[in-house]
């Protein structure tokens, strides 16, 4: 069985595997022998968790350059580790950094890169990835034509499951030879962004999003999100107005989400917004303008005042649960 490299970043949150990492390792196990390539410390806690997901081999580096410069040194690590284990595929999460590491690993290994995969299946010796393109209006099946496939995978492409039999990972320390230009873009400061305590947009089962119609007041959106255990999203109009953090933006230049339920509130539904949410399973829209294009794609639409409809829904949900 060929080695499938999964990139694990331990620089920011050491000791814990992300839910996406669990999914990537599960995926790697279905395609070959999972090999974890870890940037940062490989603690006993982390190794136990990797073992539980069937990882018998870990390549790891704690060289300080990995965290001192933007993206490129991590790509050097992944490319050199993948070459060392003769990997047939490299899997990464689909964050901005994950995609960029994938991009550079592709150049280093002369390998095809597929981003934004929503499912990956082993198919006759290669991996076949499915993704949405053209703002979610088309679905394509893509594969790498090269010896190595590099794929960045969106959350929930597969259900995470520990291996039937846990492995005891052997850890090999890697001395990465960084390319000179990889040490060119230095991270001179980092400011943590405030955590909302709500689910991450891309992970959430339900998203409640607000737009221009909320007119600066996200309270009704947040209250509905909290009774539903949902993430809060926003249109670009709302983030540009400064009503909510840009990190909450859903759309062409923000997050692309496909939750079970997307509740769009006070958002007209221009193509740039649709690009981020039209692959959602169910769409509910609340807007006071009956002509809004969002109603053309809504499974359930309410023409009405969000400041009346949302609080009423919140009260009703609380009442039914009481």
């Amino acid at each position: 069985m060929s080695a499938i490299v999964v990139y694990i970043d331990q620089l920011d949150a050491p000791g814990k595997l992300s839910t996406t990492a669990h999914q990537l390792l599960t995926l790697a196990r279905t395609a070959g022998e999972p090999v974890a390539v870890v940037a940062g410390p490989a603690s006993a806690e982390l190794l136990a968790e990797l073992g539980a997901y069937g990882v018998a081999r870990v390549l790891q580096s704690e060289q300080p350059e990995l965290g001192q410069f933007l993206v490129a040194p991590k790509a050097d690590l992944v490319a050199q580790a993948a070459a060392a284990v003769a990997a047939s595929a490299v899997l990464l999460d689909n964050s901005a950094a994950g995609k960029e590491i994938a991009a550079r690993v592709g150049v280093a290994l002369n390998a095809g890169v597929i981003t934004d995969a929503v499912s990956v299946v082993a198919d006759g010796g290669t991996l076949l990835a499915q993704k949405s393109v053209l703002a979610g209006s088309w679905t394509v099946q893509a594969r790498a034509a090269s010896a190595v496939s590099v794929i960045s995978v969106k959350a929930h492409a597969v259900e995470a499951a520990p291996a039937p039999e846990a492995a005891v990972p052997a850890v090999e320390s890697v001395e990465v030879a960084f390319a000179p230009a990889s040490l060119g873009a230095r991270v001179v400061s980092r400011t943590p962004r405030a955590a909302s305590g709500r689910p991450e947009l891309e992970d959430a089962r339900i998203v409640v999003a607000g737009g221009r119609g909320v007119d600066g007041d996200f309270t009704p959106i947040e209250e509905l999100a909290d009774v539903l255990g949902a993430a809060v999203g926003a249109s670009r109009a709302a983030t540009d107005a400064g009503w909510i953090s840009h990190a909450s933006q859903v759309g062409q230049t923000g997050k692309k989400v496909s939750p079970q339920l997307y509740i769009s509130v006070g958002i007209s539904g221009a193509i740039q917004q649709k690009a981020g949410m039209q692959t959602s399973k169910l769409i509910v829209a609340v807007n006071k303008d009956a002509e809004s294009p969002i109603f053309e794609i809504a499974d359930f639409g309410i023409v009405g005042d969000l400041f009346k409809v949302l609080p009423q829904a919140v009260e009703e949900i609380k009442k039914r649960r009481a």
């Binding site: 890169v113 981003t115 053209l134 943590p192 962004r193 079970q260």
Partner: protein, 268 residues
């Protein structure tokens, strides 16, 4: 080197207008490029370049902003629009062999084109194309050119030869610094792109656009296009269009009806 004149290359792409239906076509499932325009995300890259060169005296100060595009004859429209907005010259890589190039093949040709322009101080790109949407070409181009990569910048400042940018991630906002030459990609938060004015439209007619082939750049035709691409699209299907469901007008109980709908879908 103090604040000397800059030689900047901006990548501009001719993409299908998202306001119309967009399609994949043919055996290789490539994009239908009718109804195309300058990718709106590239306008932020052009604005970033013009702001940096304006601060050093613009074209009169000896600064150069080259709008570089790769694509069929019609892609020249993206260069023309860039010249109208304020780029000083255009470079168009046009070759039939390019059709169907993936990110890897595209970045290979772009690297050769940037090198053909001599000593470039900065390559500036948008955060993604609005058609392919992979956002990986900037990172691949930086890797191929051996330039420091500052991507997804939401602000860019240049002091002498030191470029400082902010990158807003989900967990952190980072300040990134590099010495020129470098490659930067900018987000739609980076600036407010200017529009072409009448003077710019007239001036653009006199600006030089150079069209080159793969042979001119020394790139083999089989290294690009469908033949040279490292990814293949095995199948493509248009998603069934979403259709409108039940639309109601609130007559006082819409919030309750919303909860009924969610309960029927087993979402609460």
């Amino acid at each position: 080197m103090e604040n000397s004149a800059l030689n900047i290359v901006v990548l501009v792409k001719y993409v299908p207008d998202a306001q119309f239906d967009r399609h994949l076509t043919g055996e290789a499932h490539t994009i239908d490029r009718n109804e195309s325009i300058l990718s709106e995300l590239d306008e932020y890259a052009l604005e970033a370049a013009l702001a940096l060169t304006d601060a050093r005296g613009g074209a009169k100060g000896g600064n150069t902003v080259t709008a570089l595009t790769l694509g069929p004859a019609a892609a020249a429209a993206a260069v023309k629009k860039s010249l109208q907005i304020g780029a000083t010259q255009g470079l168009h890589v046009s070759d039939e062999a390019l059709a169907g190039s993936d990110a890897s093949a595209t970045s290979l040709v772009l690297a050769a084109a940037v090198k053909s322009l001599g000593n470039v101080d900065l390559v500036i790109t948008g955060m993604a194309s609005t058609d392919g949407e992979t956002s990986i070409v900037p990172a691949q181009l930086a890797a191929r050119l051996g330039l420091p990569q500052i991507t997804f910048a939401s602000s860019v400042e240049l002091d002498g030869t030191t470029v400082t940018a902010r990158r807003d991630g989900d967990d952190f906002s980072e300040e990134i610094q590099a010495t020129l030459p470098a490659l930067i990609s900018v987000t739609d938060q980076a600036n407010e792109p200017r529009y072409p004015n009448f003077k710019g439209i007239i001036a653009a007619k006199k600006k030089k656009v150079t069209t080159v082939s793969l042979a001119d750049l020394g790139v083999a035709p089989d290294a690009v296009g469908l033949a040279g691409s490292l990814t293949q699209v095995a199948a493509a299907a248009e998603r069934p269009a979403r259709t409108a469901g039940t639309i109601i007008t609130d007559s006082g109980d819409a919030g309750i009806q919303l909860v009924d709908f969610l309960a029927a879908q087993k979402l609460i």
